[in-house]
Amino acid sequence: MLKPGKHLVLGNIACAEGALRAGCRLFAGYPITPANEITEYMSNELPKANGSFLQMEDEIASIAACIGGSWAGAKAMTATSGPGFSLMQENLSYAHMTETPLVVVDVQRSGPSTGQSTDASQQDFYQARYGAHGDYEIIALSPWSAQEMFDLTIRAFNLAEQYRTPVYFLADGMIGHIREELAVPENIDVINRKAPSGPSVTPFGTDDPSLVPEMPKFGQGYRLQVTGSSHRPNGVRDSSPKVHGDIIRRIMKKIAQAEPKIRDVAKLNLDDAKIGVISFGASARPSYGAVKKTREEGIKAGLLRLKTLWPLPEEEFTKLANQVDAILVVEMNAGKLVREVQRVACGETKIASLTRLGGVTPTQGDIAQEIRRLAQ
């Protein structure tokens, strides 16, 4: 593990460091570019920290081992990219249904399919949200620097533990492979799951307003029944309409109602902005450059950078739409976030989209050009 202080590291290493600092002690993964450095670093560091590193036979097994480990009491993580993330979807659905805390890192690469394999994209924006079957809400974070690969990984673990849910860490090949300064603090805040407060426990139901039940672990004598089938608060399988409806509504509401607390956005030059750029991850970097450049030219541009992608910070979109003359959504896919902005802010202001395919970020010049056009 890195000592507190400044280091020059790869984004992926910062992510692995963040995980270790947050208390991750089980990692199960399968090799895939551009996530390999996380997996390799964990294989090096976890055994030193009395943790377990597992290289599994595929990504299905990797996420399964994380879920099993989490119920044995571990803070668990896996790291992958698009194809592996697709393989994990069924078990992620299981993790939502069983309210299993864990962190899934997706260092996004350019698809569909093998696509450009090693190059960056932001194409899993919807796969993270809707990839698995059934109804559920997710928390997804998006880092734009090596520092945030560290900071937001810690936050991902804390959110997973606090809300008893899988948390999606949507990095991309560019931020994963960027080499930047990382400041490792002396102390960090770590949140742990709520342990049972007494000799009996209802692991899938609660009266607490947070709607997050206590989470026991295997081997404590609670004789847990954990199942992906619809279940009563005590875990017993029951597929009646009421029981199913109750559990789905609760697991969705526990996240939806906490959206204002989960939400994390950075507002850059936004106070007096008339052109609002919305972006995240790697594409937010040239977006910020373009905002500064066009400001020098006298255009009041600003950037809303999303650090939490899901739950969607809808209120921020509405506020921005009411403030600016036009919104420009910048992303590295064929246009995904822009659909959400349109859905939320349609009719409030003009909404434009700048997308970039090909495994590269849009250039600052292209974005500045678009801002100028919208400012006319």
Partner: protein
Amino acid sequence: MKNLGQLKADYIVQNLNAFCPGCGNGIILNCFVRAVDDLGWNVNDILCVSGIGCSSWIPSPHFRGDTLHTTHGRALAFATGAKVFNPSLKTVVFTGDGDGAGIGGNHLIHAARRNIGLTCILVNNFNYAMTGGQIAPTTLHDSKTSTSPYGNPEQPFDIAKLVAAAGATYVAKWTTNHVLELTRSIKEAMQNPGFSFIEVLSQCPTQQRNILGVRAPPQELPSRLLDMLAESTYINDGEEKRSYIYTVLAGEPTSALKAVEKALGDSGKAQLVDHLTLGRVARVEATDIEAAKARLGIPEVKRITDSREGKQEIGVFVRKQRLEYTEALREVGRRARGEQ
């Protein structure tokens, strides 16, 4: 030895029974809790992990210990994570032939290769029972299932051999007719430090009625199937009486049997039995087998077979020791921390 009522009170949740009448899964549950009770282990230390399918319901919702009922085929991978993080959990995985050898076959061979300290009990009922009796990787060639109405074009796996070849350190195969042997094997398996695998051939009255073509009234079917499992297997190191043969019959079995009995005279005795691969056949016992055979050249006898033909070998196949996976991980940890 505790009676069934006591065992039920000690180890089984409520009064649940998730299975069809006469299902083999209840027998396997019974053998499992008996084994746990005999071992005298604390139930709180036992974790049962299962996949999806009728056989995966053996522990969940029935067993009154920790249970993790997972996704189709993946139970071993879930169990691996739990066991690695807490090696003191005595972990038993229940899976089906479809669950464990079909969709989850890859996890099965890799768990065996790693020699992780789990016990895996695979219930082989020759089909995907829960979904309505489709072809499984264990379905016999030519069986008619709901997805092989003209007969199964595929050939089945020998799962126990597969897992033995992959490196498991305890491998056994029994049937639901071998309850004492199965219970003993579960105890042995749970005490083996490495990966233990037990395949159990089991009766599924609901689907096997069609798949194995056993025509009998519902109340007779389970016992007919149980007898069939005994008839169609032989114990690998067992002393077996081999002074019998089977005759494959032409026409209606009961009248064909009469013809066989008549042809045999005093030279042997014949009785109708169900056989996994031969169907409803006459088992002929005789002191002088050759003499009996000579009398059976009648139109009602299509074919005479050796006592072993088409049978499955059961018993304990592997008992060995090699480095267990969580122990190997601890070794890696000591090396990483420079403790040696």
